[in-house]
């Protein structure tokens, strides 16, 4: 990532993705916006799962915390939107830090179970939140307040989501290509050797968990204003599994893989449902198993080896 050429590439991609927003009609816009949210979530989850090697099931729960926090702060409590936005992210950061401190002591899949239990607890709390969270019915009838005097509606909101994805990707790519990113991968590959090289494993793990979970919260904030409705079921285990599958199939550890996986897994049902009905979930399950068995680098790995072969 150096030099003017990559900056141009970024700008071109953002412009293209934004232009698409103006071209799409009503239904397609909704699909596109949700796809952008999924891409943002897959990118941050990929960093946590694929790069830092932490199998966590709390990612969607933090998206939920972000979404509920901003809506409650801005529309139930009536804070100015800027304060609500920052408050939501701060809450995600604080909560994920508290969860990370003890959880990163756990080995492997026990971290997964602890974060899964935490995410289910979050849902129970939201369900029982009564007037504050709207319970199982959720909260509706709000809309994004004017930001700096502008009402961000229609395609402009989609552009905002494109920028959200771009920001997420930029942060993660920069972190990846730094000593922090290398430390994360080192811990993933061999924590004992990483420690011997001077990596403060606990500190890096906690930081990775907190950063990525806060990015998930950011995506949650973005999601809250897509339908202007939030309910707890969206942030449950079903979608968490889908996210995991996206990252695995796309290629865990690769940012491009996360994007590919998110687009594929999100769009496939629209194409497959007319043909196989609910069966597309079976297809994903099978793809996950096949990926783990035969192509652990996922689709991104397939593309990489294809281009390597063409280069020689």
């Amino acid at each position: 990532m150096r030099g003017a050429s990559s900056v141009l590439a970024w700008l071109a991609a953002i412009v293209a993705a934004s232009a698409l927003a103006f071209w799409l009609g009503g239904y397609a816009t909704d699909v596109y916006r949700k796809m952008l949210i999924w891409i943002a979530l897959a990118l941050s989850y990929n960093f946590l799962f694929g790069i830092a090697g932490q199998v966590a099931f709390s990612h969607f729960a933090f998206a939920g915390v972000g979404a509920y926090a901003v809506v409650i702060l801005a529309h139930k409590i009536g804070l100015p939107f800027g304060a609500a936005f920052i408050g939501a992210l701060a809450l995600c950061a604080l909560l994920s830090y508290i969860v990370a401190l003890p959880s990163t002591r756990l080995e492997g899949f026990y971290l997964a179970l602890a974060t899964l239990a935490f995410s289910q607890l979050v849902l129970v709390v939201i369900d029982e939140g009564g007037g504050l969270t709207g319970g199982t019915g959720g909260i509706a009838n709000y809309r994004l307040p004017d930001v700096l005097g502008y009402a961000i509606r229609g395609p402009w909101y989609t552009v905002l989501l494109v920028l959200l994805v771009a920001l997420t990707l930029w942060v993660l790519v920069r972190l990846d290509h730094s000593a922090f990113g290398r430390a994360c991968r080192a811990i993933r590959d061999n924590a004992v050797a990483a420690t011997a090289m001077g990596v403060d494993v606990r500190h890096v793990k906690v930081l990775a968990f907190t950063l990525t979970s806060t990015l998930a919260g950011l995506a949650g904030v973005g999601y809250a204003y897509v339908d202007n409705v939030i309910n707890p079921s969206v942030f449950g285990l079903e979608n968490m599994f889908l996210l995991l599958f996206m990252v695995i199939i796309g290629g865990s550890g690769s940012h491009l893989g996360a994007i590919i996986g998110a687009v594929l897994v999100y769009l496939a049902p629209f194409l497959l449902e007319p043909i196989v009905g609910h069966g597309f979930l079976v297809v994903f399950g099978v793809l996950v198993v096949l990926t783990i068995l035969f192509q652990p680098a996922g689709l991104a790995g397939l593309l990489a080896s294809r281009s390597a072969r063409h280069a020689t």
Partner: protein, 298 residues
């Protein structure tokens, strides 16, 4: 406090179901270090097989006697467990990949099984007839549905059988040897592949039995697997991975905390749904040494 004896029966019956699921985890976890989250779907499969065999509600509409449902569950789940092991776990273990890979692959299997059940049986819950009818049974002050006592009796029988298997048979000792040290066990001639296959088949059968036993009380439903998997794992963590009896203890503790807490604690009933998760978190952090140590024994 008058309904306490009934609550005890109810909690014991629930606890037995959790214990069976925990046992299913344990049978697989000890020799392979693999946490098989798909046990919940195996239980759901057992429940649906029961519906298919015992009622006209689903193909093959047999309305056959109960023992045939039992046999069908054991045979089909045994084969299913063995197939899952052979197709997804064995290649990964043979390759020497970290234990996370089979666990993730099994999440894929979880979704495959669950969606297949939805496709085969539809999305609506299907009731399953209790073999001893809907009458209430009482042993002194302890009264409950006949199915609840069947669950308790069957669970005790399973646990006794498994305990005897591990303590008294050659195969059981082989299991223990593999659980303690895979490499050493292989070196002294124990066939690892067979032990692993047997572990998965046995785990599947126990889980399927749990599903069959609970379905008269809760109906067979395609979403029943995941909550059960979480509750079963919580029971496992509470009871500890070391001994078979731990699974039974863990299941009972979880169920009693859940039901007594819901009944007697002055908090909104919806929050009690969070008990298994809170317990899981507490025990994961209180006993990380206990769980990890048994893995490090390899």
């Amino acid at each position: 406090m008058e309904d306490l004896p009934e609550l005890v029966v109810s909690a014991t019956a629930s606890g037995c179901i959790y214990a069976l699921v925990a046992l299913a985890y344990l049978l697989i976890l000890r020799p392979t270090s693999v946490i098989n989250f798909a046990v919940g779907e195996w239980a759901a499969t057992g429940a649906f097989i029961g519906v298919a065999v015992l009622t006209p509600l689903a193909w093959p509409r047999l309305e056959a006697p109960y023992w045939q449902a039992l046999v069908a569950v054991l045979v089909i789940l045994g084969v299913l467990g063995w197939l899952v092991e052979m197709a997804t776990v064995r290649p990964l273990i043979r390759r020497g990949s970290s234990v996370t890979s089979p666990i993730l692959a099994l999440l894929g299997v979880l979704v495959i099984i669950r969606e297949s059940l939805t496709i085969l049986f539809g999305a609506d819950p299907l009731p399953s007839p209790p073999p001893f009818g809907f009458k209430r049974v009482a042993f002194g002050p302890f009264a409950g549905a006949s199915q609840q006592f069947l669950i308790i009796g069957a669970t005790l029988a399973v646990f006794v059988a498994v305990w005897l298997f591990f303590e008294r048979t050659v195969w059981g000792r082989a299991f223990e040897a593999v659980a303690l040290n895979r490499r050493a066990a292989a070196l002294i001639g124990i066939n690892l592949r067979r032990v692993t296959a047997l572990a998965f088949a046995a785990g599947a059968m126990v889980a399927g039995l749990a599903g069959l036993l609970m379905s008269p009380l809760t109906s067979a439903h395609y979403m029943m697997g995941l909550p059960l998997a979480i509750q079963g794992f919580t029971a496992l963590v509470i009871g500890g991975v070391g001994r078979v009896e731990g699974a039974l203890l863990g299941g009972l503790v979880l169920a009693f905390v859940e039901q007594l807490g819901a009944r007697y604690l002055p908090i909104p009933s919806g929050l009690t749904l969070g008990f298994p998760f809170a317990l899981l978190i507490v025990f994961l952090f209180l006993r990380p040494g206990g769980l990890i140590a048994s893995r490090e024994a390899r």
